[in-house]
Amino acid sequence: MSLAHEEVLSHPDHDIPLEYSTEDGVLKIFGFWIFLATDLILFACLFSMYQILHLNTAGGPTEQDLYNVPEFMAETLILLVSSFTCGLATLEMRKGHRGALMAWLIVTVLLGLSFIFLEVREFVDYVGRGATMQRSAFLSSFFTLVGTHGCHVSLGILWMLSILYQLGRRGIQAITARKVFIVGLYWHFLDVVWVFIFTVVYLQGVMH
C-alpha cells in the first residue's frame, strides 16, 4: 500500500484523489459516511424531543426570554465560516500544499474554539438567570440538543489538533489525507446540524 501511494504522489494529476488511493481509504471513508448516518438519527431524535417539549416551560423561562439574536447569529456565522475554511484546507491538500492545509486547519480550529467559547458563555448566562436543564422539559431538551452538538464540535477540535500533529510529523500521504478528508466530512456535518439548530431552535424561538 505504501508503494501505491508513492506512485500516486509522483503523478499529481492522477484522477483518483489521494485519500481514495488505497482500498483502506475507500473503505474507511465509506464507513464514516455510514457512521454519520447514525449520528444524524441521534440528532433527529433530539430535534423531535425538542420540537415536542419546547413549549412546556412549566412556568420557567421561555424561548423568547432566553435567545439573543446577535449572540446566536455570531455563533452561526463563525461556524459557517469555519466550514468554509475547512473546505479550503481540503482543497489545499488536493494541491499538495502542506503549509496552506495546516494553516487553514488552524484557522478552522480557532473558529471552532470561538464558537465553543460563545456557546459556553451563552449556557453560563442562561444558568445564571435560573434557566438550568432541571428547570423545565423545554430546558432539558434545549441543553441536551445544543449541548450534544457542542460536545461534537469540541471533539472535532481535538480530532483536528491530533491530525495537525500527524501532518506536521508525516506530511501529506494516503493515511493523513484520508484523515483530513474524514474530519472535514465530520466538520461539515456538524455545520449542517447547526443550520437546523439555528432554524428549529433559535429562529423558531424568537419568531413567536
Binding site: 455510514i34 438519527i41 431524535c45 412546556n56
Partner: protein
C-alpha cells in the same frame, strides 16, 4: 479449538483474545451468547416456576427482576449477537468471497463491547438487578431504587455501540468487498438479510441511545424529560424506545429468514423459489419496519384513531412476510427433502411455529382488538412465537447446519433429532396456552394471578421445563461433538454457497485465490453432483 491441530500452538491470548479474524470473532460471539442463552433460560424457568401457583412462589420484586433480566439478556445478549455477531461475522465474508470484514479491528472491538455489556448485566445480579421490564418505561423506571436500572442503561449503551459498529462493518463489507462477479443479484439470501438488518441497526439504535440516555439524565442529573409536573412527557420515551425496539424485532428475525433461505434449497436439492421476491421482501420489511412502532402504544394515551396509520402499516408488513413463507413452501414443492436435524428446525420447527406468531401479529395489529389484548398474555404468546418459534428455531437450524463447517466434525445426529422434538413440543406446550389465558384477560408481568388462570399457567410451566431439557441436550451435543464428533468433509450437505468450497474449518485467510462468481448459488442439482456428495 480446531486450529490448534493444524499450526504450531498459539497461546490462548494470541489465538483468541488478540484475534481480529472474523471467524474467530464469530465463534467468540457464538460461545458467549450461548452462555447468556443458558442464563436467560434459567431466568425464564424461574419466572415460569413462580407461576406454578396463583399466589406465586417468589416475592414480587424478585419476580420483576427475573423477567426483566430474562428479556434483556435474551434480546441484547443472545438473539441479536448470535444472529448478527456470530452468524453474520462468521459467514458474510466467506459467502461474498472476502478475506475478512472491512474493519477487522473494529470488528474485535464490537465483540469486546458486547462482552462488556453482558458483564455489566451479570454484575447487576450481585449489585441489584433492574426491575422495570426490558421496556423500562418512565416514570416507574425513574423512581425505581438501587443501581439496577443504571446498570441496565449502561449495558444497553454498550450493546448499542457494539451493534452500531458491527452494522457499519457489515454495510461496508457487503457493499465494497464482494468477490469478482458477485453482483447484488448473485448474493446469497443470508447476505441480503444481514445487509438489511445492518441498515436497520444503523437507523434504529441511535433512538434507543437517546431514550436510555435521557432516562439516565432524569434519574441522576435532575432533568425533567419524563416528569409531567415540569412539562415532561412519559409518552415521548415510549416513542423513542419503540422507534428502535420495533425494528429490533425485525433485526432479530431477518437474519433468521436468511438462514432459512439458505437451508431449504440445500435440503430440498432444488433452487430457491423466487430469489428476487425473497431478497426484495427483506428490503420491504426493513423499510416498513420503521413505520409501525406506535402499534405498541395504541392504548398508551394516543387517541384510538391516531393508531389507524400504524395499524395499516402493521397489516401491510405482513405481506412481504407471507411472500417469504409461500416462496419457502414452493421451494420444498417437488424437491427431494432430506430430514436432517437443521432441516427439521427450519421446516417444522421454524415455519410451523413462526406462522402462529405471524398470524397473532395480524390480530394484535388491529386497533380495536388490541384494546383488549394489549399487555395480556396473548402478547406474551405472540412475541414468544416470533422470537422463540421464529428466531431461536432459525438459530438452532443455523447452528446445526454450519457446525461441520466451523468444526470439521458432525454433531450426534440422534441426539440432534431428540433435541429437536423437545424443542418443537416444548415450544407449543409453553407458548400456546398463553394465548388462552391472554384472551381470558390475564395481564402480563404478574407475579401472582387469579385462580382461574392456574391450569394453563401450569401447562406452560411444564412446557418450559421441556424446553430447558432440550436446550441442555443441544448445548451438550454441540460442545461434545466439537471435540469428539465424527470428522466430515468440506461439504457434507452438498451446499452451494462459497463457504462450502473451502476446507472445514476454513483456513485463516479464507480463500487462497479469490473466487470468481458467475451465477447465484441456487442452481439445480445434477445426479452426478449428488453422487459426489454421497461418496464424499
Amino acid at each position: 479449538m480446531e486450529a490448534a491441530v493444524q499450526a504450531p500452538r498459539k497461546s490462548f491470548i494470541r489465538e483468541w483474545v488478540m484475534t481480529v479474524d472474523h471467524k474467530k470473532i464469530g465463534i467468540m460471539y457464538g460461545v458467549t451468547s450461548l452462555f447468556f442463552f443458558l442464563l436467560a433460560g434459567l431466568f425464564a424457568l424461574l419466572v415460569r416456576t413462580d407461576l406454578l401457583v396463583p399466589s406465586g412462589l417468589f416475592s414480587p420484586q424478585t419476580y420483576n427482576e427475573f423477567f426483566t433480566m430474562h428479556a434483556t439478556i435474551m434480546i441484547f445478549a443472545v438473539i441479536i449477537p448470535l444472529l448478527t455477531g456470530a452468524f453474520g461475522n462468521y459467514l458474510v465474508p466467506l459467502m461474498i468471497g472476502a478475506r475478512d470484514m472491512a474493519f477487522p479491528r473494529m470488528n474485535a472491538l464490537s465483540y469486546w463491547l458486547y462482552l462488556a455489556s453482558g458483564v455489566v448485566l451479570l454484575f447487576s445480579m450481585f449489585f441489584g438487578m433492574p426491575d422495570a421490564g426490558w421496556t423500562s418505561y418512565p416514570p416507574y423506571s425513574i423512581q425505581s431504587q438501587g443501581p439496577g436500572i443504571d446498570l441496565w442503561v449502561t449495558a444497553i449503551h454498550i450493546a448499542g455501540l457494539s451493534s452500531i459498529l458491527g452494522a457499519i462493518n457489515f454495510v461496508v463489507t457487503i457493499h465494497k468487498m464482494r468477490a469478482p462477479g458477485m453482483t447484488y443479484n448473485r448474493m446469497p439470501l443470508f447476505v441480503w438479510s444481514i445487509l438489511v438488518t445492518a441498515y436497520m441497526q444503523i437507523f434504529g439504535t441511535p433512538a434507543l441511545a437517546g431514550a436510555v440516555t435521557t432516562l439516565l439524565a432524569d434519574r441522576h442529573f435532575g432533568t425533567v424529560f419524563y416528569d409531567a409536573t415540569a412539562g415532561g412527557d412519559p409518552m415521548l420515551y415510549q416513542h423513542l424506545f419503540w422507534f428502535y425496539s420495533h425494528p429490533a424485532v425485525y433485526i432479530m428475525i431477518l437474519p433468521g429468514f436468511g438462514i432459512i433461505s439458505e437451508l431449504l434449497p440445500v435440503f430440498s436439492r432444488k433452487p430457491i423459489f423466487g430469489y428476487h421476491a425473497i431478497a426484495y421482501s427483506s428490503v420491504a420489511i426493513g423499510f416498513l419496519g420503521f413505520f409501525v412502532w406506535a402499534h405498541h402504544m395504541f392504548v398508551a394515551g394516543m387517541s384510538m384513531s391516531a393508531g389507524i396509520p400504524f395499524m395499516i402499516s402493521s397489516l401491510i408488513i405482513a405481506v412481504p412476510t407471507s411472500v417469504k413463507i409461500f416462496n419457502w413452501l414452493a421451494t420444498m414443492w417437488r424437491g427431494a427433502v432430506d430430514y436432517t436435524v437443521p432441516m427439521m428446525y427450519a421446516s417444522l420447527g421454524f415455519i410451523g411455529s413462526f406462522i402462529i406468531g405471524g398470524f397473532s401479529g395480524v390480530i394484535v395489529a388491529e386497533v380495536p382488538l388490541d384494546m383488549h389484548l394489549h399487555d395480556t398474555y396473548f402478547i406474551v404468546a405472540h412475541i414468544h412465537y416470533v422470537l422463540f418459534g421464529g428466531s431461536v428455531m432459525t438459530i438452532m437450524a443455523g447452528l446445526h447446519y454450519w457446525f461441520p463447517k466451523v468444526t470439521g466434525r458432525m454433531f450426534n445426529t440422534k441426539l440432534g433429532h431428540i433435541s429437536f422434538w423437545f424443542y418443537f413440543i416444548g415450544t407449543q406446550v409453553t407458548f400456546f396456552p398463553m394465548h388462552l389465558v391472554g384472551l381470558a384477560g390475564m395481564p402480563r408481568r404478574y407475579q401472582s394471578y387469579l385462580p382461574e388462570f392456574q391450569f394453563w399457567n401450569d401447562v406452560s410451566t411444564i412446557g418450559s421445563y421441556i424446553l430447558g431439557v432440550g436446550t441442555l441436550i443441544i448445548i451438550f451435543n454441540l460442545f461434545y461433538s466439537a471435540k469428539y464428533g465424527k470428522k466430515v468433509g468440506n461439504n457434507p450437505w452438498g451446499a452451494r454457497t462459497l463457504e462450502w468450497t473451502i476446507s472445514s474449518p476454513p483456513p485463516e485467510h479464507n480463500f487462497t485465490e479469490l473466487p470468481v462468481v458467475t451465477e447465484n448459488p441456487y442452481q439445480p442439482y445434477s445426479p452426478q453432483e449428488v453422487e459426489e456428495v454421497a461418496t464424499a
